[in-house]
Amino acid sequence: MSVEHLPGTSASAMLAGRTGKREMTDDAFAANLKKLETNLATVIRGKEASIRLVLVGLLADGHILLEDVPGTGKTTLAKSLARSIDGQFRRIQFTPDLLPADVTGSNYYNPKEGRFEFREGPVFSNVLLADEINRTSPRTQAALLEVMSERQVTIDGERRAMARPFFVIATQNPAEFHGTYPLPEAQLDRFMLRVGLGHPGREDEVEILFSQQERHPFEALGAVVSCEEVAALQEQVRAVHVDRSVAEYMVRVVEALRDDARLRLGVSTRGSLALFRCAQARARMSGRAHVLPEDVKLLAAPVLAHRVQLETKARYGGLTPAQLVEEALGKVPVPR
């Protein structure tokens, strides 16, 4: 859908007039967005929709779970996004023997100084890549709970805040069963979006083959936006107008899922909040200063589907959470 823009009603003008916040022009917003998209597209080909969803998650100040079969480019996408932002990037390769302290950091005794010193774990970064997150035990996975929702860690009673922006991008492979630990519901709920990549089309795959003939395009990838710029983009997103009826529509969709007898676990309020924020991000990325029901419809499945748990009967009956989300969208009337 394309929105006709009338003179003098650009999104930034509206936002600036309404919020009085630091103004970033439409052009600057679009330019930064474009830079990110182009940068990612040089590495990940034919996956514009997935890239856009990942950017929605970034602009909505949430965390992303990339889930797909091996070899589809999950880690490459995550690394490329991290490298595109000129911030501190750290990666944790989750393995079965990883411990919580390996993630968050720990106090160790410095005999030279004669006191305990804190050694930061990899979470102290701007972009954290949690690769193969389901290969470690739930005990270690749980180390991420606090930092993902509150953006702080508490070690030996001491609270340590994260730098802003803080963005976790995790990958997992849903096809394997042996040697993996499914993410607990609380952990899944902390990811704003779950994005699948899927196999590229034939043309794109041929392009990929040639593009990596000499070297991986990732090696030439550089940072295109600074941390401050990302924070500014996120701030712009928060100012996007959401009509009360659209918010009500989101809640009705969430309620329809909660009422579904085929679900063991419905969507949390954190889920509604995520839908709200993502819809704002998508609206702003589309050059609008207001959210449309269309944003909610398009984002409902990636934002909500990973937060619900199917009843055993429904699961074995071949249903998927995404189907139930689509059903809920088909039932709830759209505001007009």
């Binding site: 006709e4 107008h241 659209v246 449309l292 029901p293 998927t320 969208l329 759209v334 505001p335």
Partner: protein, 658 residues
């Protein structure tokens, strides 16, 4: 693309289910096994709660079909009541076919249908076949129910078929032509059906009224306590009471014994001649009326069609039938009166001014007839004669003997409906072994004892009226059937001899009707009243009622349509937007609907207009509509709504409509 979610299990629409239930009822009335139809009805209704169905394409339903069909055929083959009967020789076969059709219908409801399958039409076809099958075995009594069931079935099937769309060309001018032709045919059918209905109602209103009455009086019980025109003392059985209503008396009768007929000949536990063998003579009504002797009048409404006897107290001063002059009187028992008229039917009887008035029901008998009332057959045990002589020894008159016999029976016998096995002559066995018994035993024993004591006595049967309804009316049910004796006392005439002990009288031993029975009876009476009201309508009134009903129906359908349109046009509840935009949205929705593009509630306009169904959207500029939708959405969900942009939006809509 996600796999589409499985469709919800098929559930018949409510009119189709009602039509099927009407067909089941029709088949039940023709004598089909009520347990089969009842179970089928439960299974049919079960589809509304159970989510499971036979999977599509599986053979499971064929296996169940073979099993069910086999069972039904076996039941019908083994049931002796289904053997060919005179007159309705094919009734058994017909109801077996009906039961198979019922089983098929229920199975069809439990199958998973491919979505869009002709499910409603199949149900209506099957239930129509069941109804037609039932029509084949209606006998003279049940065929009248068809006058209610037929129209009910027609109404439900029309409602059920309404939801089924005719197939036709998919798009283009052919579709429009087809739609108009279909409308024309539907209109002609509606007009023809309406005209035929008015004509039918006027022509057959009498029959329809009778059908109401039949419905009201057809609550036949199959229990065994009830009036019996061929009394027989049997042992070793227990009896069940019947709650079927027989008479309603408007007013309290002077005495509770409502006499039907009396028997004078006893033979081995049977009283003869049976009602069917009684010889009857026409009697002029004047012989039954005597206004001079009458005191209070009681009107009786006969509710049961089974018996056309007149039941009235023995000492009534007069008996007056209404609406008929065809009254017959028994030759052996002049107190036996019979009317020839269908129920419900009213007659009146009047109490006499004096207690033992000898009115039309108690004329004196000739010497030969009186002798028959003294005759005791030889197979009654001689010890009974000794017993009778011992009871009445030294008593001076007939009344004293009667009192002694009644007192003896009350002292030595218990009242019971559970009878032990007896041997030989039932009365001898009852008296000599002091057995328990019911009213027929007590009355027979009193009759035989009094005959031995030289008092001419006969055995009378009828009803014992006792169930007051509180509004001055008395109800008589089959369970109030009673037997007593009537003795002839020289100088006084016929008197009633109640030989049953007080604890055994229907007033004490009858069951109280349950509240649901009373409610059902009230409903039947209401149906009866409607039938009477209907019968008395004039041509004009029928026309007015038919017109008013048609107008009401049209108004209802119109109102529903208008409300549905409003609901569609109005933003869903809780989504109220700016007041100035709401009417624009409603008009745009109406515009889409007129163009054959009604937007479903769960779709956005832009989403809906992006890919309109082929052949729709006639006369609508789709691009302009999309532009309007986009601009509307911007104003509707944006932070503000400037007046000049609103005006521009209005202008767009005007152009779109123009």
């Amino acid at each position: 693309m996600a796999k589409p979610a499985p469709a919800p299990p098929f559930r018949p629409s409510w009119p189709a289910a009602c039509a099927s239930l009407v067909a089941f009822l029709a088949l039940t009335l023709t004598g089909c096994h009520a347990s089969v139809t009842g179970l089928a009805a439960l299974l049919l209704l079960g589809t509304y709660v159970a989510p499971w169905r036979f999977p599509e394409g599986s053979w499971a339903h064929w296996m169940v079909r073979v099993m069910v069909f086999g069972t039904l055929i076996a039941i019908n083959v083994q049931d002796p009541s289904r053997l060919p009967r005179a007159g309705v020789y094919h009734a058994g076969i017909v109801s077996a076919v009906g039961e198979l059709l019922i089983a098929e219908l229920v199975l069809q409801c439990w199958r998973a249908w491919p979505s869009g399958g002709p499910r409603g039409a199949v149900l209506i076809l099957l239930s129509g076949a069941i109804l037609l099958t039932a029509c084949n075995s209606f006998d003279h009594r049940t065929h009248r129910h068809m006058r209610l069931l037929g129209p009910a079935f027609a109404c439900f099937s029309v409602l059920a078929l309404r939801g089924i769309r005719a197939r036709g060309p998919a798009a283009g001018a052919g579709r429009r032509l087809y739609a108009w032709a279909a409308r024309g045919v539907a209109l002609s059918l509606a007009l023809g059906f309406g005209g035929a209905s008015v004509w039918g109602l006027h022509t057959y209103r009498g029959e329809i009224a009778n059908a109401f009455r039949d419905f009201a009086t057809s609550f036949r019980a199959r229990a065994r306590v009830g009036f019996d025109g061929n009394p027989r003392l049997e042992s070793g059985m227990s009896l069940k009471r019947s709650m079927e209503r027989v008479l309603r008396l408007h007013g309290q009768p002077a005495e509770p014994h409502l006499r039907g007929l009396a028997f004078d000949t006893y033979a081995l536990g049977r009283w003869l001649p049976a009602l069917t063998q009684q010889e009857l003579d026409p009697v002029p009504i004047e012989e039954l009326t005597d206004p001079r002797a009458a005191a209070g009048t009681v009107t009786a409404t006969r509710l049961s069609d089974d018996l056309d006897l007149l039941f009235a107290p023995l000492h009534s001063a007069e008996v007056r039938p209404t609406r008929t002059r065809q009254v017959q009187r028994g030759r052996r028992d002049p107190g036996l009166l019979r009317f020839v008229a269908p129920a419900p039917y009213e007659y009146a009887f009047s109490a006499a001014r004096e207690a033992r008035h000898q009115g039309p029901l108690s004329p004196p008998l000739g010497p030969e007839a009186l002798l028959r009332c003294l005759d005791v057959p030889l197979n009654v045990d001689p010890k009974v004669r000794e017993l009778a002589e011992r009871i009445t020894a030294g008593l001076p008159d007939a009344q004293a003997k009667i009192d002694a016999v009644v007192a003896y029976l009350a002292a030595h016998h218990e009242y019971s409906l559970e009878l032990p096995a007896m041997h030989g002559d039932p009365v001898s066995d009852f008296l000599l072994h002091e057995r328990p018994g019911h009213c027929e035993f007590f009355a027979s024993a009193a009759t035989i004892l009094l005959r031995y004591a030289g008092v001419p006595t006969r055995f009378a049967v009828g009803y014992y009226a006792h169930e007051g309804l509180g509004n001055g009316e008395v109800l008589v049910r089959q369970q109030d059937a009673h037997a007593w004796a009537e003795s002839w006392i020289e100088g006084a005439g016929w008197v009633t001899v109640e030989a049953t002990p007080p604890g055994g009288l229907p007033a004490a031993s009858a069951e109280q009707p349950a509240f649901y029975r009373r409610a059902a009876e009230w409903l039947y009476d209401a149906a009866l009243a409607i039938g009477d009201w209907w019968l008395n309508l004039s041509w004009t009134e029928i026309g007015l009622i038919a017109g008013a009903s048609a107008a009401g129906l049209i108004a209802f359908l119109w109102l529903r349509e208008v409300l549905a349109r409003r609901r569609l046009a109005r933003p869903a509840e809780g989504y109220a937007g700016p007041r100035e935009l709401t009417p624009l949205a409603a008009r745009f929705e109406a515009l889409l609907k007129r163009a054959g593009l009604p937007c479903p509630a769960h779709l956005e306009w832009s989403e809906h207009l992006a890919a309109p169904p082929a052949g729709s959207g006639r006369g609508l500029d789709l691009d302009a509509a999309r532009a309007f939708a986009n601009e509307y959405l911007r104003l509707r969900f944006g932070p503000d709504c400037p007046a000049e942009e609103l005006e521009r939006l209005r202008e767009r809509l005007r152009r779109l409509k123009g």
